[in-house]
C-alpha cells in the first residue's frame, strides 16, 4: 500500500491554473525527485500535501485512507514534514525558536503553559549535532549563513517521527560540501524507512539520491519513471518541453 496517494489534484489561483490533474504515489522509504521549470507547480503541490491550502479538486490518501488537511498541523500529525523553498524562518528569532515554531515545548502550571526554553535549546542542539551543522541553538537566524538556515529548516523535520518529508529545493544556495551533507542525510532518512519528495533544479542531486523522477510541466505531470531507466538528457527535454512525455 502506498504511503501517499494523490489523485487528480487540480489547483487554481484565480485565473492561474497551477496544477492540472496530478496523480502521484509515494511508497515508504522511497525518494522521489520532483522536477520542473520555474512556475511548473512544484511548490504548489508541496503546499497542498503540507496542508497549507486545499486543492481545488482531487483527493489524497495516506496508507490508503482518504485524508483532508486544513492546517499544517493536520499533515504533521500523521507524519508529514516540510522544508519550504523559502525556508520559512523568522529572522528575529533564535535557531531553537524557529525549529519549534508552531509546536513549542511547554511546561504546565495549572491552566498556564510556559515555554520550556531549556528543553527546546537542548533538543535543537542535539538535532544540529545530528545534522553535523555548527548551528548554535541560541543564535538569531538573522546572523546565520545560508547553510545554517538550511540546517534550521531541516532540523524542524526531525522533531517528530516523520514518515514523509517534502524538501523544496533544500540544496539551493548552499555550498558543495553542504549539498553533500544534505544528500547524505536524505540517504540516511530513506534507509530508516522515511519517504522523501525532493524538489531540485539540480539534475546531479536528483540522480544521486532519487529512486524515481517525476516531471511537472505547466502544472501537468509529464513523466514518472525510475531514475535507472531515465537520463539527465531525457529529463531536461521533459522539463523544457522538447520531449512531449515519457
Amino acid at each position: 500500500m502506498s504511503l501517499l496517494e494523490l489523485h487528480g489534484i487540480c489547483k487554481s489561483f484565480g485565473a492561474i491554473q497551477a496544477l492540472t490533474d496530478v496523480s502521484l504515489e509515494v511508497e515508504p522509504g522511497e525518494v522521489v525527485g520532483l522536477m520542473g521549470d520555474n512556475g511548473a507547480g512544484k511548490s504548489t503541490l508541496v503546499k497542498i500535501v503540507a496542508g497549507n491550502f486545499p486543492p481545488t479538486s482531487g483527493t489524497s490518501a495516506v496508507d490508503g485512507r482518504p485524508v483532508e488537511f486544513h492546517r499544517p498541523v493536520d499533515a504533521r500529525s500523521i507524519g508529514i514534514e516540510v522544508v519550504y523553498q523559502e525556508l520559512a524562518l523568522a529572522d528575529n528569532l533564535t535557531a531553537a525558536a524557529n525549529v519549534f515554531l508552531g509546536r513549542e515545548l511547554r511546561r504546565r502550571f495549572g491552566p498556564f503553559g510556559f515555554l520550556d526554553h531549556r528543553a527546546m535549546n537542548r533538543r535543537a542542539s542535539a538535532l544540529f549535532a545530528e545534522l553535523k551543522s555548527e548551528t548554535r541553538a541560541g543564535d538569531l537566524v538573522r546572523q546565520m549563513s545560508g547553510g545554517q538556515r538550511q540546517a534550521v529548516a531541516i532540523a524542524r523535520t526531525r522533531l517528530a517521527q516523520a514518515r514523509l518529508i517534502l524538501m523544496d529545493e533544500p540544496t539551493a544556495a548552499i555550498s558543495v560540501r553542504q549539498v553533500a551533507e544534505v544528500l547524505d542525510l536524505i540517504r540516511r532518512l530513506r534507509d530508516s524507512g522515511i519517504a522523501i519528495i525532493l524538489i531540485s533544479h539540480r539534475m546531479p542531486d536528483v540522480f544521486a539520491v532519487a529512486d524515481r523522477v517525476v516531471v511537472l510541466r505547466r502544472g501537468r505531470k509529464v513523466a514518472d519513471k525510475p531514475v535507472a531507466s531515465s537520463s539527465p538528457e531525457e529529463v531536461t527535454g521533459l522539463i523544457t518541453g522538447a520531449l512531449e512525455a515519457a
Binding site: 492546517r71 508552531g102 513549542e104 511547554r106 545554517q148
Partner: protein, 338 residues
C-alpha cells in the same frame, strides 16, 4: 565529516542582546536627563514631583504597552487615543445611568458593571480593527486611522461635545482604585508596572507571545509553519484597545470628569513612547521595558521643561528630536550587532 564555518564568530560581551538593547540605551539617556534636570532645578527630585511624573506617564505608558504589542507584529494602532476617550466617556455615563439600579445597593457592583462594559466596548473596537486587518488584509494604518476618527466622533456625538462628570454610587471606590496610592505609590503607576510585568512574561514565556514575534519577523513563515496568524493578530489589536481603554478609565478617575476631547492627539505620544523604547515599526522587535522607559522619558522632558521655566510648548519639538535620535541609535546598534 568535519565542518568548519569561518563565519561563525563569538560576539563580544558588550554586544550581548541584553546589554545591546534599545531599552537599556534609552534608560541610560533617561538617567542622564534626570541628573541634568536635577542640577538645573532643585524641585525636580522631590518626592512630590516624582510621584507627579510617575502618575502622568502611567496613562501614556499603559496604552504604549498595547501599541508595542501591535508594533511587534509589524502593525500600528492609531486609534488608541480615541479609544481612551470613548471608553472613559461610556464608563462615566454608565455610572450615572446605573445609579438608580438595584445593583447600587451592593458596594462595588456598579463599578464592576460599568468598567466591564467600558472595556467590552474597547475590546469590540479592537476586534473590529483586528478582523479588518487580519482577515480582510486592510492596511493597519488606514484601518486604525478610520477607527480613530469613528471613536472620536462617537465620543462627541454621545456627549454632544460636553464633558461628563464622574459621579455614581461607587465613586469613592472608583477614585481609590484609579487615583489612590498603595504603600505611597500612585495606583496608575502600579497598574502600569503590573501590566508591564504581565506583558514581559506573556511575550517571552508563552507560545502565543512567541507567535507575536514570529509574525513580525516573517508573517509568511509563521503562517506556513502553522502559527494561527489571524487569531494572534486579532488578539493583539484587542489587547491594544483594552489597554488604551483601561488607561482612559484611569484618566477619568484622575480628572474627576471626562472632557469630550480627552486624550486628544495622545496616539502620537503613545506611539512615540513605544518607538523610543525600541519597538521597530517594521516589526519583530520591542518590549514592555522599552514602552515604559520611553513613556517616562517623554514625561521627564515635559516636566523638566516646566521646572526649568522653559515654555512647555517645546515639548513636542524635543520629543520629535528624540524619536529621530532613538531610531538613529537603533539603526547604529543593529549595524554593530550584525
Amino acid at each position: 565529516m568535519t565542518t568548519e564555518f569561518s563565519n561563525v564568530r563569538q560576539r563580544p560581551w558588550y554586544l550581548h542582546p541584553h546589554l545591546n538593547s534599545q531599552a537599556l540605551y534609552v534608560f541610560a539617556a533617561l538617567v542622564i536627563l534626570v541628573a541634568a534636570i536635577s542640577v538645573v532645578s532643585s524641585a525636580f527630585l522631590t518626592t512630590g514631583n516624582l510621584l507627579n511624573i510617575s502618575k502622568n506617564f502611567a496613562y501614556i505608558g499603559i496604552a504604549s504597552l498595547g501599541v508595542t504589542l501591535v508594533i511587534i507584529t509589524a502593525g500600528i494602532d492609531l486609534s488608541v487615543g480615541s479609544v481612551m476617550a470613548l471608553t472613559a466617556i461610556v464608563t462615566s455615563l454608565l455610572f450615572r445611568a446605573t445609579a438608580e439600579w438595584p445593583t447600587a445597593a451592593v458596594p462595588g457592583l456598579t463599578l464592576a458593571i460599568c468598567v466591564t462594559a467600558g472595556l467590552a466596548l474597547a475590546a469590540f473596537v479592537g476586534t473590529v480593527n483586528g478582523l479588518l486587518i487580519a482577515r480582510l488584509g486592510l492596511s493597519p494604518f488606514v484601518t486604525t486611522l478610520g477607527t480613530l476618527s469613528i471613536c472620536r466622533g462617537l465620543g462627541y456625538v454621545i456627549t454632544e461635545g460636553r464633558g461628563v462628570i464622574v459621579t455614581g454610587p461607587d465613586v469613592s471606590i472608583f477614585y481609590a482604585i484609579t487615583d489612590g496610592t498603595l504603600l505611597g505609590i500612585p495606583t496608575p503607576l502600579l497598574f502600569l508596572l503590573a501590566l508591564a510585568v504581565w506583558m514581559g512574561v506573556f511575550l517571552h514565556q508563552t507560545a502565543w507571545g512567541r507567535y507575536v514575534f514570529a509574525i513580525g519577523g516573517n508573517e509568511r513563515a509563521a503562517s506556513l509553519t502553522g502559527v494561527p496568524v489571524e487569531r494572534v493578530k486579532v488578539s493583539i489589536y484587542v489587547a491594544s484597545s483594552l489597554m488604551a481603554g483601561f488607561a482612559g478609565i484611569l484618566m477619568a478617575g484622575w480628572l474627576g470628569s471626562v472632557p469630550a476631547n480627552l486624550a486628544f492627539g495622545y496616539e502620537l505620544r503613545i506611539i512615540a513612547a513605544a518607538v523610543i523604547g525600541g519597538a521597530n515599526l517594521s516589526g519583530g522587535a520591542g518590549g514592555p521595558a522599552g514602552a515604559v522607559i520611553g513613556a517616562a522619558l517623554i514625561e521627564v522632558i515635559r516636566n523638566g521643561l516646566v521646572l526649568s521655566r522653559v515654555s512647555a510648548y517645546w515639548q513636542d519639538t524635543l520629543v520629535g528630536l528624540i524619536i529621530i535620535l532613538a531610531v538613529l541609535v537603533d539603526r547604529l546598534r543593529e549595524r554593530r550587532a550584525s
